[in-house]
Symmetry: C2
Subunit: 350 residues, 2 copies
């Protein structure tokens, strides 16, 4: 059974998932040649639904096909789950070592029936359906009080860690709040307590005034390159209006997000030749008071502001980054934003 | 000029090094095929000293050659330095954004004159000379009061981020303490303040009592798999006797470290078929009181305990790890330690 362990020196949780383990000689497979699923064997194709476990949910097509299955987005359980619902929640520890049992969920969101239709190629409406599926799963999984956070992310391309080439996103529901999210929650909380303003709202306002790090702006969203970008072309998509929780996003907001996300992915494609990328949704954790457990938050995280972070995988993470927590980024965010602004999302690749 | 920027939400420093920047289309080169230096053009070969900038220091051979240059270890400046000594230290900020100018140093330690003699193949004595060079550079760079930390690390193999195949380690002297080190310093400080004992000394004692996560033990060192290992076969090398500062390590300690390091690298080779790996030295920062700057430490870090952390690069870091701060590790440390214990460091590769 999997479990989460807390590193008392690094102050972070690690998921130990021995059911996914390999024997030492199985690590010898070269990393770079990760075999992606071929279309002829891909279990996520339209009509091959029997090759996966039964679906958790589907979103049907807006124009149903005359025959065959009717789905546009389909959510299935992971075949090799790192965390599972069918496990007792236990929290214990000895000495300075703490652990939590691997309760949670691990799901795969099939973003559409077509193997080669990347998100950048999809219609706005179909991207919005993917975002609706994220919201629906978030709402549903939150009802399990053992779930402290629902992490929704997307790895595109083998270099970004994608195991399948069929367009998909991933979801991991965890019994602890991810370390990166804890940092952001704390920063937002500190800012709010001092100023009674949301730090992300302030950030959007400040960056819009400066302009130099804004890549794209629409009525309801901005795409900006953060001041301390850790990676070239790291981009955050933030709604202009305050909202702590993606589960409460309106359909209008999802439509706006689908639009700016598609625009950004197309600019990446044109400017950076369809790079591999990672995308992570950041949202407030499930409100769940737990007095006496300082690692949990006892109030509604109304001071948070949901957003999406995207990093094209253009440089390799080496020992320096891993061992220090520093990144070395050769591309200043002001320069990345300038390039993105002048890129035509419908243009030819360079 | 490079600079360091602090991310007010993630609470970490990023080094922006635009002198190393590429234009967007230059990122299009595939990552996995990083070209390693060929022996025929390698600037670190014996006799090709003129192909690098003048050396910062050398350690001569114990049996000098009858003719030609006489060095066993040679330290040269990086050709593309992320940080430089020739720059004014300035710290400033506006709004919630803080920056420090890119003062520091970036050096390359050529570990020996032979292109294909990896550290695992070197004699104990020659590994000890590499460690002596690390200590000498640490002592020297510390004299510059602008330097807050000297990060010494090693990337072995292209998959671990190595740009050169000639055996080498790297050094980056920084004007701020790396985020990962700050975490460890805080944890050590908290433990010490509560218990008046070093947390690493306690850790070594506790793990030796349990035994299950100890991979190798010698008179003066242990190699252990940490309780919350973030990666398969992540290993820490800790001196059994307390010492906060690698710069104060004795020659005897370096000899002991050379021995256990060589042993571990040979076990990795046998068990995991010479994996790419990253190695990072963790030591206390330069003592330097700076009242009013909470990010700096105002006293000697006597409660720290220097050590080395090594991670074979067996799994790919994907979006999940990057966006959450979690790792998913399929190999429990108890199992990794068991495999390492039963591996013969002089054995045949599996």
């Amino acid at each position: 059974m999997s479990e989460l362990r807390f590193d008392p020196l690094k102050k972070r949780w690690v998921i130990l998932a021995p059911e996914r383990r390999r024997r030492p000689h199985e690590f010898l497979v070269p990393q770079s040649g990760t075999p992606e699923q071929d279309i002829t064997t891909c279990p996520f194709e339209y009509g091959r639904e029997a090759l996966t476990d039964p679906e958790i949910m589907i979103i049907p097509r807006d124009t149903p096909p005359s025959s065959g299955p009717n789905w546009q987005v389909r959510v299935v359980p992971s075949r090799f789950p790192a965390l599972r619902v069918e496990q007792e929640l236990s929290r214990d520890g000895s000495w300075i070592y703490d652990r939590v049992s691997g309760v949670g969920a691990h799901e795969l969101i099939v973003e559409g029936p077509e193997h080669c239709l990347e998100m950048a190629d999809m219609r706005h409406e179909d991207i919005q359906l993917v975002l609706s599926a994220w919201r629906a799963r978030l709402r549903d999984l939150r009802r399990d009080v053992r779930v402290r956070y629902v992490l929704i992310f997307k790895n595109h391309g083998a270099e970004a860690g994608a195991v399948f080439s069929h367009p998909h996103s991933l979801l991991l529901a965890t019994p602890v709040i991810p370390p990166e999210v804890v940092n952001e929650l704390q920063a937002a909380r500190e800012h709010f307590e001092r100023k009674e303003r949301c730090v992300f709202c302030d950030l959007v306002k400040h960056e819009r005034q400066l302009g130099e790090r804004i890549a794209i702006e629409t009525d309801s969203f901005v795409a900006l390159e953060p001041y301390a970008s850790a990676h070239p072309f790291e981009t955050w998509l933030l709604p202009k209006s305050h909202g702590h929780d993606f589960a409460s996003a309106t359909d209008d907001q999802l439509a706006g997000l689908a639009g700016i996300l598609r625009d950004l992915l197309r600019r990446f494609r044109v400017l950076l030749n369809e790079p591999p990328y990672n995308l992570v949704l950041h949202t407030a954790p499930t409100p769940q008071p737990r007095p006496g457990h300082p690692q949990y938050w006892s109030t509604l995280e109304l001071d948070f502001h949901w957003h999406i972070e995207i990093v094209p995988r253009l440089t390799r993470v080496a020992g320096f980054e891993w061992g220090s927590g520093f990144s070395i980024n050769p591309t200043p965010p002001e320069e990345a934003a300038r390039y993105l602004r002048k890129t035509d999302p419908e243009g030819e690749r360079t």
